[in-house]
Amino acid sequence: MASDEFHRLALEHLDALYNFAMYLTRNPPEADDLVQETYLRAFRFSHRFQPGTHLRAWLFQILRNTFLTFYRLREREAALAEDGVPTWDVPMFHDAPEESSGAVEAHTDLERALMRLPEEFRTVLLLAEVEGMALEDVARVLSCPVGTVKSRIFRAKERLRGLLQDYTKK
């Protein structure tokens, strides 16, 4: 596939990728960086993309992997406070806090509840339900079997329902 054509096709998914990045990072400048890095990688490795396969899923996969490696790495570094003493409450895999500084404020209970889900649950709901991806494509993005995707969707919805009920009671 010609480079210009590849760039054009890839950029058709910019808004969807940015939306996904926003829900992963909850921070516009970080979402910008994440999407830019995703496209840089996609352009650099465009020769690895197999024409005929799902470009959209491939780009989402790059974005998520970039998020996991780069942003999680930074999260690890942030766990060390300025005085060199570790701050123990910054886990790698965690239920996200309800709000954090610089983060985009959630507008509804549903958004608040979604933001509190662990990344893998949030991602699977965003891809399958919000982006409407086929389970096979979601599995490709997450690098796991389709069965795992199904069970994660089920568990994610259960957790989301529980959180929504908490908000209703409040």
Partner: protein
């Protein structure tokens, strides 16, 4: 069945997610920035000779890399041991990110790591449990439990879900304790020792900085303590 959905059914929840979540659009400047970064550079007359020189240098570099020592081990077991040692070093320097107490943390750990622990070594008079955390190594989610012995050696037990993980046969060492007999491989990387073995579909590692002959004997004992009392399984 009535065909109607309850207010919080899967279908309704899916519809709500599609309809109610804010849809963020990429800022206008982002598209331009990406297009610019991906665009080919304008042609320059002096570029060809510079590129030719760079290509020559690259070719020489490649020859050096092929002939010289390999930086990344080609053997999958060695590569994994290097990653596990790096994780151990991180824990050694900064401690577990979230030192959880066994067994209260087990459900959380299982959920986050994809590894269940039917039975777990929670420490004893020789090895004190110091923390547990999920890890992400070489593309695999896993679990790490950290212990500290009386002399201050940190001992990290790491489990990763790698079906058919090849334990290097030539480095296997027989360890017997009572009626139990195991043959884990003893590997070394960056001044650390690692017991490597397979348990079902899981690759298991026990890492420490105990490398001298005396230390290795003690390290064997630690292996037995952990191996006998810990039973990891992939969480389905």
């Amino acid at each position: 069945m009535s065909g109607e959905h309850s207010p919080d059914s899967d279908e309704v929840l899916g519809t709500r997610l599609r309809a109610e979540l804010t849809r963020y659009s990429a800022p206008t400047g982002l598209r331009a920035a990406i297009t610019q970064s991906g665009a080919p550079a304008p042609r320059r007359p002096w570029l060809a000779p510079v590129l030719a020189a760079a290509a020559t240098a690259l070719a020489l570099g490649l020859v050096f890399l092929l002939v010289g020592p390999q930086m990344v081990p080609a053997d999958p077991a060695e590569r994994l041991v290097r990653s596990v040692v790096a994780e151990h070093t991180r824990a050694l320097m900064w401690g577990a990110r979230r030192p959880e107490v066994i067994p209260t943390a087990l459900p959380w750990l299982t959920q986050e790591s994809g590894i269940g622990l039917k039975q777990v070594f929670a420490g004893d008079d020789r090895l004190q449990f110091s923390g547990a955390e999920p890890v992400y190594l070489e593309g695999h989610r896993g679990i790490a439990l950290h212990y500290r012995d009386a002399d201050g050696h940190l001992v990290s037990y790491v489990v990763l879900p790698i079906a058919g993980f090849p334990v290097p046969d030539r480095r296997r060492i027989q360890i017997e304790r009572g009626t139990n007999r195991w043959r884990p491989a003893l590997m070394h990387d960056s001044g650390f020792s690692a017991w490597v073995w397979r348990q079902g579909e899981l690759a298991c590692f026990l890492v420490s900085d105990m490398v001298s002959d005396d230390d290795v004997e003690r390290f064997k004992d630690y292996f037995v303590r952990v191996r006998v009392s810990t039973d990891p399984v992939p969480a389905r």
